[in-house]
């Protein structure tokens, strides 16, 4: 067994680098699960909203979230079943339907809501969007769904169910646009030997609120690549769980986010290694700029006693570009068997690396261009790993737009 744990701040080479103004939450854990009830795996679940107490904000799972900005989703704000319209760019072989709840296969993944918002969304959902890739189907082009909020004052509930049959391969991309207060449940079910790239891309208007709980089941020898990209929105809080339904499955959870002034972007992940020989690889990278920009990354991994021979690694990296931005990053690893291939996690939050900038500038590259190079480089790896062109192109453009903000801010600092 190899357990590799790196919790150090940003690595420095040679000369010193100032990361003192970057903030990182040092709280994290790794070790043996001691008592039931404390683990992410033991979360209470129910379809009944009233079974959940309204959080106060002191609870472990809510302590980072600015509850008031959820606009009453946690309390009793009205939730309607419509208000987000879907535009589908279909591909041959993949079926997309909007089905009334009663006729749908909602719950197919075994998912039961894990908090009050998702239970309320469950109750308020009228129709389920289902995306089905039949067994054996291989589709190269991604299916692209654009969900656009109509900007109505009432919150909207939604439910998405993606199924990929045995040995099928497909990519599904969901873009979120417009404005909404959106409470969403997502189920993803991969059959044996299936491969799915699923991308949830938040390109909301600045005032949107998006609460999403996703639950993915990875079949025997199946491969899930789940991607979360967040640029827009006022508050984005996504909770993604991956479990296995047979040995040999793999879950690659990738995320990229860019929080601007006042934005709260929160990703909570839980990989439940409940089957032997399964793999998980988590990589989330974010940049933050501006006053009150806040990102939260919680990476939970549980290795159950039966999960022998598994391999897991999770990494979160944050680049804090200005004062007043805060990145919280908490990896948690619970290990219940020693018979594993590998388990590790790392989290690093830092400022622009002065040594990188010096190196580039010492080759004649002006400071602004050097910053751009470093920032583009920081995200370049993600674009490659996500590997869906329509997503990569949009991400590149969004990163360039964020760079414009960054350069204006940097210019203002120099002038001051």
């Amino acid at each position: 067994m190899t357990t590799d744990t790196t919790d150090s701040p940003v690595e420095t080479t040679g000369l010193s680098t100032d990361h003192s103004r970057a903030s990182a939450d040092a709280a994290h854990s790794h070790g043996v699960r001691t008592s039931p009830g404390t683990s992410y795996a033991d979360r209470f679940a129910s379809t009944d909203p009233e079974a959940f107490e309204v959080p106060t904000g002191r609870e472990e799972e809510w302590r980072f979230t600015p509850l008031r900005r959820l606009r009453g989703l946690l309390q009793d704000a009205p939730l309607r079943g419509e208000g987000v319209t879907a535009d589908v760019r279909g591909v041959d072989g993949v079926t997309v339907q909007i089905v009334p709840v009663a006729e749908s296969r909602r719950g197919l993944s075994g998912y039961v809501p894990i908090d009050r918002v998702s239970a309320r969304a469950w109750a308020a959902t009228e129709k389920v969007m289902t995306i089905d890739v039949p067994a054996g189907t291989e589709v190269a082009e991604p299916l692209v769904v654009t969900l656009t909020g109509d900007g109505g004052s009432e919150a909207v509930a939604g439910h998405l169910l993606v199924t990929v049959g045995a040995n099928a391969r497909a990519s599904v991309v969901v873009f979120f646009e417009g404005s909404a207060t959106y409470a969403e449940n997502v189920e993803i079910v991969l059959g044996d030997g299936a491969a799915l790239t699923f991308v949830s891309y938040q390109d909301w208007q600045p005032d949107a609120v998006h609460h999403s709980n996703a639950h993915a089941v990875v079949g025997r020898d199946a491969e899930l690549k789940h991607v979360s990209v967040s640029f827009g929105g006022d508050l984005v809080r996504h909770d993604t769980t991956a479990v296995y339904d047979g040995p040999g499955g793999s879950a690659e959870l990738l995320g990229l986010y860019f929080a601007d002034a006042g934005q709260h972007i929160e990703h909570r992940l839980f990989v439940d290694h409940n089957e032997p020989k399964t793999r998980s690889d988590v990589l989330y990278k974010g940049a933050l700029q501006g006053d009150g920009a806040h990102s939260v990354w919680i990476g939970n991994v549980l290795i159950r006693p039966e999960a022998e021979g598994i391999d897991t690694y999770e990494l979160n990296r944050n680049l804090v570009l200005t004062d007043g931005a805060r990145a919280d990053s908490v990896p948690n690893l619970e290990i219940e068997t020693g018979e594993i291939e590998g388990a590790g996690h790392a989290s690093a939050t830092g400022r622009f690396d002065d040594e990188q900038l010096f190196y580039l500038r010492a080759r004649g590259i002006p400071e602004e261009a050097a910053r751009r190079l470093v920032l583009r480089g920081f995200f370049a790896e993600m674009i490659g790993r996500i590997g869906v062109d329509v997503v990569g192109e949009r991400m590149l453009a969004a990163i360039e737009a964020e760079l414009e903000i960054a350069m204006q801010t940097a210019g203002a600092e120099v002038d001051a």
């Binding site: 080479t13 010096f358 080759r363 190079l373």
Partner: protein, 251 residues
Amino acid sequence: MSNLTISDLHVTVETPEGPKQILRGVDLTINSGETHAIMGPNGSGKSTLAYSIAGHPKYQVTQGSVLLDGEEVLEMSVDERARAGLFLAMQYPVEVPGVSVSNFLRTARTAIDGKAPALRQWVGEVREAMDDLRIDPAFAERSVNEGFSGGEKKRHEILQMQLLKPRFAILDETDSGLDVDALRIVSEGVNKARSTTDVGVLLITHYTRILQYIKPDHVHVFVDGKVAEQGGPELAEQLEAEGYDRFLAKA
């Protein structure tokens, strides 16, 4: 014909205990086409001299001047110094994840020339330089210095020296950590730049080993933050035989 003139250079570095004096009045003049070796024991301030000339923010110049053809280098920003024709081959080159070597080299050359190089000629130039330095072509698509071995990092530094064509190049312990084969390749790369351009070279080293491959015109012994003795190549041979003890005892 250019010259780099360092006069009475005093430099401090910030430490937790307050500023610490490292350079105590360095005087040195290098002309185009000349190669000067700066030798000295560890902690004598050799690398501080290199980084101070390049403009690293960690070092504070408290006195003196560095003139490049009469222009005050110390008033220039880091990138202005490079564009004026100064180059520092670093002892510990920095990793820049996600920035490919080819993109980095092209961006640097464009910055230094003030315009993008003609593509076809540039590609040929890069290929030839990489070939000379035995750098695998696949390196062009790798991230700058990321996962490079010690020898690969040094060869990559000299690759930049060849492609950026500085007027003066400072090589900071380029020989450290190299095996004999890598040292020979790197030295050949430096010698090629010396023979094809009029570059003046400041070769900073602790050991005489690299001087068997790169013949200096002048040798300066650096002790306690300033030049303690200077001479021709014979001074290096003397140091090889006697070590630095003589100077350290004096200091």
